[in-house]
Amino acid sequence: MAVIDKNMAILVVDDFSTMRKVVKNGLKQLGFNNVTEAPDGKVALEKLQNGEFAFVISDWNMPNMMGIDLLKAVRADERLKNIPFLMVTAEGKKENVIAAAKAGVSNYIVKPFTVNALEEKINAIFNRG
């Protein structure tokens, strides 16, 4: 099992600040401290384009730019296209998950999730290589 860099820059995207905090807290518990937040896809994309992020965790439903559009934009960007992308969905709606999978999502996670589930998803993403 590959060792995951705990210092990697992670971008957490959600319009609901409570949710960002929940994710951030979860990440902190897992030892990831380098977390940046963005309130929607549009801001997130700017941050990604101007920064060096190693991992994106994004909500699906957001104003301005939805998570799925952010994912598509990231995958279409030459520099960003290989960033691991974890999509947060409110329910495991199959068509959403499949749409995200087709758009190149690395994995998805369904709200509500436990820190354990988050860890599992992160491990699943980063151990696939």
């Binding site: 600040s17 929940v22 999978a101 509500p112 699943a124």
Partner: protein, 877 residues
């Protein structure tokens, strides 16, 4: 090979990549896709291999552990992708090898133990059967309670025995099923599930014989449980015989189990605050009196609901999650134009907001407590409303379809009749069905064009004010205020000492000035931190107006002004109930029906205006309506009929208006179901007075009424007048004081009925001596030496006799200790600037207590004079 099949295969392959052991959600999705794939393939013989492969995996789900299952799925995905090219290519898992049979029925312990278990329970199961059959054969009379009791005890203990044994030898399937049966027996008597018990016995024997023979049991434990629970539900129903709704109520009760909050409480607190913000935004949108909502508005509402759902699920606030989920679905349909966002939907959204608020409140309380939430039926009722609404929509679709058909047949004959029939059937007092009525015309005539026009597109920027905030727990603020109060007191004590004793030291005096100024400023800032705009409360009222008007079929336009006026949080909270009651009253009793209004030459739409303004140290709230106004004659008659006013008593118009606050005046007859919550107007008044506020009414018959509430800005500090009585200091709230005076001899007299009275203007006011009421020695005895404080509670006036009036104080209210809690007439105490303690008078309760005392005294005197009367009274009681 059809596209849909290769699509499904791609789907499965994509999902499998993300799958890892323990990921039940994705596994569910994969299994779903497999089932769909299988269905898509079944029609074509060419795909036979694929069907078999799907079947194999689907069957293995229960028996394989995750790792093996995922391995099998990966093999399947690879093989299936090869299969899309050539239906003989690829090796599916089932073609590779037979996997070993595994499930929770497979024994994990060693064979010896299992054989022992089998031997023991094969015989005991026979006894078990015999006992059941014996009970089953008894008729009603033979089933004595002793016998039943014995039977129940036996079944319970035997099942417990089986469970324990099965657990210890690793037969987890049997353990699970037995536990399940035990659970049923918790609320159901054993003799009522005889069939299930027999079934259970057979199943266990089947499993056991499968083990001894090395075969596969017919039914896995979960399947057995699933089969049993359905049947037992039905059996219970028929077994009970009488109550048809029994199973349903049992089911909903099961859902109403208390649940435990989850997650970090600190974040939860933030979630609650944020969720409330979202609700306020949505409410603002809803109540902005707009007739059409643009896509952006609907999106914003949807998102808010969605976010609340997502957040709540984290903290396991189940009711919020469930109600939000249902509402989100509805809003999703609305924003996608599948459903028109009409008044009915608006109502549902408003209900949603109200329910969320109360659920959030409940959650807050739970955080403070043990984190357990006991579900309330309101969430269920709300879900039922949504359900009804969706059903009504389905009905409308059907109707409009029929209408279309009808229209096609007779083109020019106007709208079809069916929808109208539905309308007629709709009982107006049944709100659940109302959507049909409102929905029908738009759907039927123009299903698509009725979709909301994106007219008033609000941009989020307009709404956001750029202020930065820190969220602070209220309790901390309260404590800060407490300490500020203490500080103000001790600094003023210090300042006084300094000025008395160090008046020659200029530097010290200068410092005291500075200290005084700073501590006053701190106090002001402290107070302002507790202040919140009354806007939130007013918005709630606009909802109340809307709801009430809708319910009783009136047209009311609601306006508010001064909503940015700030006042103490506690005041706002306490004001909510009385204000709601008064606003409801204004709509219900004040505003006339549209027909009556037209007849009176008024516009059909009534107006209710709510305003807030500052007035010195107090805030004035007005509820003004342009309805029919109060009829003094009618009011007086009612009051006389109810025995509130003696016949022939002459009252000013204002006094008559105030009668509506008299206890017993607004009874069920006056208060319709809209206005009533069991709260009469007397309680409204009580609530206002508890806040040291007062209420006034002006009204003009036929033109409308105005209720004015005057409230202190804060409850923590009170403006009062300091008085002395003997060695005690009393603080009387300035708001209740009309005048002070030194009585002249001719103003004083003593009446038989009311004791000492003071002639004040054209009235006779009872005199209450604080010294007597609180038994204080060494106070002035002669009223001519004393000072009279004329107090007015709005309901009655009286003269309080004190020794002297010292002057104004801003008293920081402190509660009296437990010892004095019962003392009537006092609201608390305060530390005065010289360090002594002043008692704060609660005028209304003081007057009540004084009158009670006076009556008692009068009665005693009467008893002494007429012992016979005492006897007759004794008999009456």
């Amino acid at each position: 090979m059809s596209d849909s099949i290769s699509d499904k295969i791609e789907e499965i392959a994509l999902l499998v990549v993300m799958l890892f052991p323990g990921d039940a959600q994705t596994l569910d999705l994969v299994m779903d896709s497999l089932a769909e794939l299988k269905k898509a393939c079944e029609s074509d013989q060419e795909n036979q291999r694929l069907v078999e492969a799907c079947n194999y995996i689907l069957e293995q789900r229960e028996s394989l552990d995750d790792e093996n299952l995922i391995a099998a799925l990966n093999e399947f995905a690879t093989a299936a992708q090869a299969f899309t090219q050539d239906n003989t290519a690829g090796v599916f898992p089932h073609e590779k090898q037979e996997s070993p049979w595994k499930s929770d029925l497979s024994p994990e312990a060693d064979e010896g133990l299992i054989i022992e278990f089998i031997e023991k329970h094969s015989t005991l199961m026979d006894d078990f059967e015999a006992a059941i059959v014996q009970i089953a054969q008894l008729n009603e009379e033979e089933r004595t309670s002793e016998r039943l009791e014995e039977f129940r005890g036996y079944v319970k203990s035997y099942l417990h025995n089986v469970k324990g044994d099965a657990g210890s030898v690793g037969l987890s399937g049997i353990e699970k099923v037995t536990h399940f049966i035990e659970d049923i027996l918790q609320d159901t008597a054993a003799e009522q599930i005889i069939d299930q018990l027999l079934e259970y016995r057979e199943w266990v024997l089947n499993v056991l014989s499968a083990y001894s023979g090395g075969a596969v049991p017919e039914k896995l434990s979960d399947d057995f449980i699933a089969g049993l629970s359905v049947e037992s539900g039905e059996n219970l129903k028929t077994g009970e015989g009488t109550e048809v709704e029994e199973p349903q109520s049992a089911e909903s009760e099961a859902e109403l189990e208390p649940y435990q909050l989850d997650g970090d409480p600190e974040i939860l607190v933030e979630f609650i605050a944020e969720a409330k913000d979202h609700l306020n935004e949505v409410e603002e949108l809803l109540l902005s009196d707009s007739d059409s909502y643009g896509r952006e508005d609907l999106d914003a509402m949807f998102r808010a609901v969605h976010s609340i759902k997502g957040g709540s699920s984290y903290f396991n606030i189940q009711e919020i999650t469930r109600t939000s989920h249902a509402t989100e679905n509805l809003m999703d349909n609305a924003r996608n134009g599948n459903v028109v966002f009409n008044n009915a939907l608006k109502g549902i959204m408003l209900d949603y907001i109200a329910i969320q608020r109360s659920l959030l409140e409940k959650t807050s309380n739970a955080i403070a407590g043990d984190g357990m939430i006991t579900p309330s039926p309101e969430a269920e009722r709300f879900l039922a409303t949504i359900d009804d609404y969706l059903k009504s929509l389905a009905l409308i679709e059907e109707l409009s379809l029929q209408a279309d058909l009808a229209q096609m047949e007779q083109e020019n004959k106007g709208p079809a009749e069916k929808p109208e029939e539905a309308e007629n059937k709709t009982a107006p007092e049944n709100p659940a069905k109302q959507p049909i009525e409102e929905q029908t015309p738009s759907t039927q005539i123009a299903p698509k064009t009725a979709a909301p026009a994106p007219k008033k597109a609000r941009t989020s920027k307009e709404k956001v004010e750029l202020k930065s905030f820190v969220k602070v727990e209220t309790r901390r603020l309260d404590r800060l205020m407490e300490y500020i109060g203490e500080m103000v007191i001790s600094s003023s004590m210090l300042i006084r000492k300094c000025r008395d004793q160090l008046s020659h030291d200029e530097a010290v005096i200068n410092n005291t000035h500075q200290l005084e100024r700073i501590s006053r400023e701190i106090q002001e800032i402290g107070m302002s931190m507790r202040l919140v705009p009354i806007k939130g409360l007013f918005q709630k009222m606009s909802r109340v107006v809307w709801d009430t008007a809708k319910k009783i079929g009136k047209e009311v336009h609601f306006e508010m002004s001064g909503e940015d006026t700030e006042l103490d949080r506690t005041v706002v909270e306490k004001l909510a109930d009385p204000l709601m009651h008064m606003v409801r009253n204004a709509v219900d009793h004040g505003i006339e029906t549209p027909e009556d209004r037209k007849a009176a030459g008024k516009p059909p739409k009534g107006h209710v205006h709510l305003s807030a303004t500052h007035g010195g140290g107090s805030i004035i709230i007005e509820i003004r309506d342009d309805g029919k106004g109060l009829d003094p004659e009618k009011l007086l008659k009612t009051a006389v009929d109810k025995g509130i006013v003696a016949p022939g008593e002459s009252l000013s118009e204002e006094e008559i208006y105030m009668l509506i606050f008299a206890p017993g005046f607004s009874t069920a007859k006056v208060v319709t179901d809209v206005s009533g919550r069991g709260v009469g107007m007397d309680v409204v008044r009580r609530n206002i007075e508890d806040m040291r506020g007062r209420i006034n009414i002006t009204s003009e018959l036929g033109k409308g009424s105005c209720f004015t509430i005057e409230l202190p800005l804060t409850l923590a500090i009170m403006e009062g007048i300091e008085t002395t009585v003997g060695y005690e200091r009393f603080i009387i709230p300035t708001l209740s004081i009309t005048e002070f005076l030194r009585p002249e001899p001719e103003m004083l007299s003593t009446t038989l009925k009311r004791g000492e009275v003071l002639q004040y203007r054209d009235m006779f006011l009872p005199i209450f001596r604080l010294a007597d009421l609180f038994q204080i020695p060494e106070a002035y005895n002669d009223p001519l030496d004393a000072t009279m404080v004329i107090v007015d509670t709005g309901r009655e006036m009286a003269a309080l006799q004190v020794d002297d009036v010292l002057g104004n104080v801003s008293a920081v209210i402190k509660s009296l200790g437990v010892m004095f809690k019962q003392t009537e007439g006092l609201a608390g105490c305060s530390i005065l600037s010289d360090g002594s303690i002043g008692l704060i008078v609660d005028v209304s309760s003081l007057l009540a207590a004084a009158k009670k005392k006076q009556r008692n005294v009068a009665r005693e005197e009467q008893l002494e004079e007429h012992p016979a009367g005492a006897e007759s009274m004794g008999r009456i009681h």
